[in-house]
Symmetry: C2
Subunit: 310 residues, 2 copies
């Protein structure tokens, strides 16, 4: 596994520079598209639309759109046909953050360095903002005329399966809440992460591949890749929670530990967690071999997550 | 307008008997289909699935499925091709009830004569149950192989538009909450009702017509019919709140009035409200003329809502 000091040296290589360019370009594209798709703050009900935009434009990493666009472009699709589905995934992700932060859920006051939606707009508006954002995600895909209707229903089915119960994000959040009151084992922890974070990241990769007309074999390969990427993402998130400063991660560090939330470092300790991280990175890169495509961008994303500091 | 005593005499006519049969059959069909579609309580996360089923099988009137099935069958579609979309609408409706009942929203303890979802399962589970139910609604339509993919995306777009902001249900709930703190005028009250209740009832009618390959003219006629039906439904709801007993309506009567919620009787008084009711009924029936189809069933539904006691 690379040591953190290697991150700077990596920044000099081509793939890191290319990725940085791609990350910046993706964020610009996604932000512009979300601004086009979402109702303006001046439109009634203004409070709900202000709350939606508060959370959607809170400086998120746009990681799911990044994965979708990177996979889609790796398999030959143009950004224009990928962008609306990428936005739909970001909308689903953001709705889940708004609801997860609520007092009766994780009770978080701070997200990405600023007030969470319910702290800023009140609980009722935050609940409605999350609800509307979820609906608008499905509406966006259903009305994306750049895609065939057959693709649109396939994408909606993928996203919905990854977001719902029993095999998706809401199931993960439910299990995570349930696990707070007791000790979870390794199997349960991986299940929680796979559902809560992994499912939507896998869906992002699969949607990119579906839009780009990838074969079944290729779809299977990116599914494996994205599963490991999701694991990487979650483990680094857990590690950052105990090692980083509040300024770097935009939330109170150590919060997960204090609230007895199931995390990798809590279960395995930091050293073993870092070994899991290296293994996930290796498996992600191995899966890319099966795509039989030049997949530098996807490999660079795996490298980047491995090394991320925020 | 018919006096309440006429309801019993109407029960002897053929259309009322036919409607009663249709209502019973619809409820049986819808309940069986929802049981097939929704995850079992034994499946993890069991609490979320128990909460979903608690609210979905709480004895709801299945009014939106009834409208969808009645319109669809009026235009010649078989129940088998209508049923999954009908269930999706009921799932959207139920998710909105679960969230609207939450403490930070309408704070209702009782719904259809029993504990609301958050009272029974806790707030966090109720929020997640509503979230999952919404997702499952879109998943259901996207995966309905009895319909062409072109129809599925059209239905998802219709339902999402009717459920989201700025033109749908969530916008209505947001405006309703905002209106609690002040006096609303007649225009605002109708807007709130049109969004909060009307939009999804109109979507039900339109989805039935779309599945049945109705023409644009026919679609326009059922849209008008359903708009008046939604108004009828909301006005009778408001009237029942002040005239009925708790046993008959399954919630605390007079609650809307006490909480200063915008209602027709609060704004116009009971007598003028009854005149609005009669006008909406008449306009609903007039719209049916433009379908140029035998629409006894749809007329009987309008009659039934006009006379409903619960």
């Amino acid at each position: 596994m690379r040591a953190p000091s290697e991150l700077e040296s990596m920044a000099g290589t081509d793939s890191a520079a290319d990725l940085q360019q791609f990350v910046i370009e993706t964020r610009r594209l996604v932000d512009a598209a979300l601004d086009r798709i979402l109702p303006a703050e001046t439109v009634s009900p203004a409070q709900v639309h202000a709350a939606i935009r508060w959370s959607v434009f809170a400086g998120g990493k746009r990681f799911r759109p990044l994965v979708l666009l990177a996979v889609g472009q790796t398999f030959g699709a143009a950004p224009e046909v990928l962008i609306d589905t990428a936005c739909a995934l970001e909308m689903i992700h953001t709705y889940s953050l708004i609801h997860d932060d609520l007092p009766s859920m994780d009770n978080d006051d701070l997200r990405r360095g600023r007030a969470t939606c319910h702290v800023r707009f009140g609980e009722a508006t935050a609940i409605l903002a999350g609800d509307a954002l979820q609906t608008l995600a499905f509406k966006t895909v259903s009305e994306d005329e750049k895609l065939s209707t057959a693709k649109r229903v396939q994408l909606i089915s993928e996203i919905a399966t990854a977001a719902a119960t029993p095999d998706g994000m809401v199931a993960g959040q439910a299990r995570d809440l349930e696990a707070e009151s007791r000790q979870v084992n390794e199997f349960e922890l991986e299940q929680i992460h796979r559902l809560k974070t992994g499912a939507l990241i896998i869906a992002a990769a699969r949607c990119g591949a579906i839009i780009a007309d990838a074969s079944e074999t290729e779809l299977a390969a990116v599914t494996k890749y994205a599963a490991q990427l999701g694991l990487l993402f979650q483990i680094t998130d857990d590690l950052l929670d105990i090692t980083a400063t509040a300024a770097a991660i935009g939330k109170t560090p150590g919060k997960d530990l204090r609230s007895k939330k199931a995390t990798y470092p809590a279960l395995y300790g930091v050293d073993t967690t870092r070994k899991h991280l290296a293994a996930a990175h290796q498996l992600a890169c191995a899966a890319l071999e099966d795509t039989h495509r030049p997949a530098e961008l996807l490999r660079a994303i795996a490298d980047f997550i491995l090394e991320r500091q925020a």
